[in-house]
């Protein structure tokens, strides 16, 4: 187990009583998220799907690297690592919106 920091983005801080980071003891990214979820009810459902995999619209970084480029949720952690939960952000104007008048 290593002491690591999980950074919480503003949209998920309602689950952490406003805390922007949470320190946990964990050996892997999955363990860190599970400890976070045990401590702050509801947040894990926003990050992992019912099958325990990373939700489509959430990214997890360890330091500057996306875990998708590492070992996913099994990515091992070292003492002092920083895990960032990064919401996937997308959108755009829709065909149903009326174009602006010229």
């Amino acid at each position: 187990m290593n002491t690591v920091t999980v950074r919480i983005p503003m949209p998920l801080r309602s689950y952490t009583l406003g805390a922007d980071e949470v320190v946990v003891e964990a050996a892997t990214v999955r363990q860190a998220l599970e400890v976070l979820g045990a401590r702050h009810e509801g947040i894990l459902d926003r990050v992992l799907d019912p099958g325990g995999e990373l939700r489509q619209f959430v990214n997890i970084f360890v330091g500057a690297r996306n875990v998708q480029a590492l070992d996913g949720l099994a990515t091992p952690l070292a003492k002092g690592d920083v895990i960032s939960i990064i919401p996937a952000v997308a959108g755009g104007h829709h065909e149903c919106l009326r174009p602006m008048a010229r």
């Binding site: 950074r7 983005p9 503003m10 949209p11 801080r13 309602s14 922007d20 619209f57 990214n59 970084f61 500057a64 996306n66 960032s84 990064i86 919401p87 996937a88 952000v89 997308a90 959108g91 755009g92 104007h93 829709h94 065909e95 149903c96 919106l97 009326r98 174009p99 602006m100 010229r102």
Partner: protein
């Protein structure tokens, strides 16, 4: 809640909106949020990963969002929202915007046409819908 966007930052958004036209531009809003106000103190332009539909969709590069967050943290600030442009469309959130929106963040939309940039509008997700927030300089 009021959203404060200084004139120089609004000007930066307008320039990026024009540069990217007719494609969407997107990025991150950095600042401070209190119960009554979101004060935007910096704006960052990020890559749009949705290259195939860049004219009407954006997908913000998560690595760029991470970097923006690091920058904000270093300044004692926070990522307080997202901005993007609506080429040839009004500054109202689309269903696509709503479906992919996150609570607590401000969504600033800049309408842009070939020869003009319109008034940006600020929105925040409240339950299942967006609520407009007053935008001041």
């Amino acid at each position: 809640m009021t959203v404060r966007l200084p004139r120089d930052l609004r000007h930066a958004l307008e320039c990026w909106a024009r540069e990217n036209y007719p494609q969407e531009a997107c990025g991150v809003l950095i600042g401070r949020q209190t119960e009554t106000e979101v004060a935007i103190t910096d704006v960052v332009r990020t890559r749009n990963l949705n290259i195939e539909r860049a004219r009407d969709r954006f997908e913000l590069d998560p690595g760029d969002l991470l970097c923006a967050g690091e920058r904000a943290l270093g300044l004692g600030l926070d990522v307080v929202g997202i901005w993007h442009t609506h080429p040839d469309h009004p500054a109202r959130p689309s269903e696509t915007d709503r479906a992919r929106a996150w609570e607590a963040w401000i969504y600033l939309i800049v309408p842009v046409r070939k020869d003009d940039v319109g008034e940006p509008r600020a929105w925040r997700l409240n339950g299942s819908g967006f609520v407009e927030k007053k935008l001041k300089s």
